[in-house]
């Protein structure tokens, strides 16, 4: 049972960690691209 509980906790944490990393990546990408777009607009 402890092994199953370990997988349960690791699994849920893994999924949320993956999504959190993805969220941060999206925020970084959108921040960088909006800066690039605005600097291109200024030119």
């Amino acid at each position: 049972v402890f092994e199953a509980l370990g997988i349960f906790v690791a699994g849920i944490s893994g999924v949320f960690l993956g999504m959190a990393l993805l969220y941060i990546s999206i925020k970084i990408v959108s921040g960088v691209t909006s800066r690039l777009n605005s600097s291109e607009g200024e030119k």
């Binding site: 849920i12 993956g18 999206i26 925020k27």
Partner: protein
């Protein structure tokens, strides 16, 4: 007299002489799936070839699933056991997927994670009632509502359960409009269902091009075991968003996806022979699969409600139900239930965000299972 004896001898070498009651039951199951596919339009692309595969695999002496000889065994061995077909399906799905709504409102991706809680809760329940860890993981992943991922995981962890888990996953995916709405309504109030979402921002082409590369890097680094599915999913999406390889994009979305779908359905159906399928355990698999699906829907909705306790801009909690990855059916159901409460509330585009995030979430969930259990 000789003629009669020879006719009898020939009859004894024909398949008719070796038909068992179990085979007849399997034919009935196969024909039922074919009926549901044709007459009721339940996931016909998969249930039709699976149903026919079941019938073919249960024809005596045909040996279509005989190792190293049978035609369907070759499809199964080289296509599924060799991990070729599920990743190719993901290539096509990637080419079909628009991540725009998810990129426009990235906080909604957490709803795609919330729905995966159902996968792990079902895993724990299945283990508690007597399945071993690998079998329990394979049953749990049905809750992700993602057929190719279920097949991918079952092939690696519990190949003897491949057929039943695949049929359960695709059947419940077809039943999303029936399974999800009562749970969604039960867990939300009318006031919550009428919450309108803020207009989505415009996502630039550069963001859409960068996303598949960045997400492939992040997810594969985090869960390397998910690499085959994630890599193909994201290269397919890059074909779509790059806009410079339209031929590849078109082929991945159409010809390739159609061809591999044929070679996926037939051998999966063919793994379901009377000896392995007609067991009490299979009934539990179907019940637990349904349970997984229901819990995934509920946890998605509940997470959205939890997020609303902290969020400045409220999220319509119905969107949580789209976190199961049945794309785009779950998103459509969210829109429909939302529209029942407020006709002018268009939730479809917003629901597509957690919906496609759910696909990634299920792949990560499968990757975690593989990392620990393989």
């Amino acid at each position: 007299m000789i003629l009669i004896e020879e006719t009898l001898a020939m009859f004894k070498t024909s398949g008719f002489f070796f038909v068992t009651p179990g085979m007849i039951v399997m034919w009935a199951i196969g024909f039922t799936l074919i009926y549901l596919a044709i007459a009721r339009d339940y996931e016909p692309l998969l249930l039709l070839p699976i149903g026919f595969g079941i019938v073919l695999a249960n024809l005596p002496l045909a040996d279509l699933m005989k190792p190293n000889e049978g035609l369907l065994w070759r499809f199964y061995h080289y296509g599924i056991q060799w991990e070729i077909i599920p990743p190719l399906i993901f290539l096509g799905l990637g080419a079909l997927t628009d991540f725009g709504p998810m990129l426009a409102r990235p906080v909604l991706i957490f709803l795609g994670a919330g729905a995966q809680a159902g996968v792990y809760i079902t895993f724990f329940v299945a283990y508690a009632i007597g399945f071993d860890l690998k079998e329990a993981a394979t049953i749990g992943i049905i809750g992700g509502a993602d057929g190719p991922t279920t097949i991918f995981l079952a092939t690696k962890l519990a190949p003897h359960m491949l057929g039943s888990c695949a049929v359960a996953a695709y059947s419940y995916m077809a039943l999303v409009p029936i399974i999800q709405p009562p749970i969604m309504k039960l867990l939300t109030t009318k006031e919550e269902r009428v919450i309108r979402m803020k207009k989505l921002r415009k996502v630039s082409r550069l963001e859409k091009v960068l996303f598949p590369m960045v997400s492939a890097l992040v997810i594969i680094l985090l869960v390397p075991a998910a690499a085959p599915l994630m890599a193909m999913f994201m290269i397919g999406n890059l074909f779509r968003e790059a806009k410079v390889v339209e031929r590849l994009n078109h082929a991945a979305q159409n010809e390739l996806l159609n061809i591999v779908t044929i070679f996926l359905g037939l051998p999966i159906g063919a793994t379901m022979n009377a000896e392995t399928f007609l067991q009490p355990k299979v009934i539990f698999i179907f019940f637990l699969g349904l349970f997984a699906f229901m819990i995934s829907t509920a946890t998605g909705v509940l997470l959205a409600k939890l997020m609303n306790l902290f969020a400045k801009e409220k999220i319509n909690p119905l969107l949580g139900a789209a976190g199961v990855s049945a794309v785009p059916m779950a998103a459509r159901v969210v829109h429909k239930v939302g529209a029942e409460a407020d006709k002018k509330n268009y939730l479809l585009m917003y629901a597509m965000g957690p919906n496609v995030a759910g696909v990634i979430g299920t792949v990560i969930a499968a990757g975690v299972f593989l990392t620990i259990l393989r």
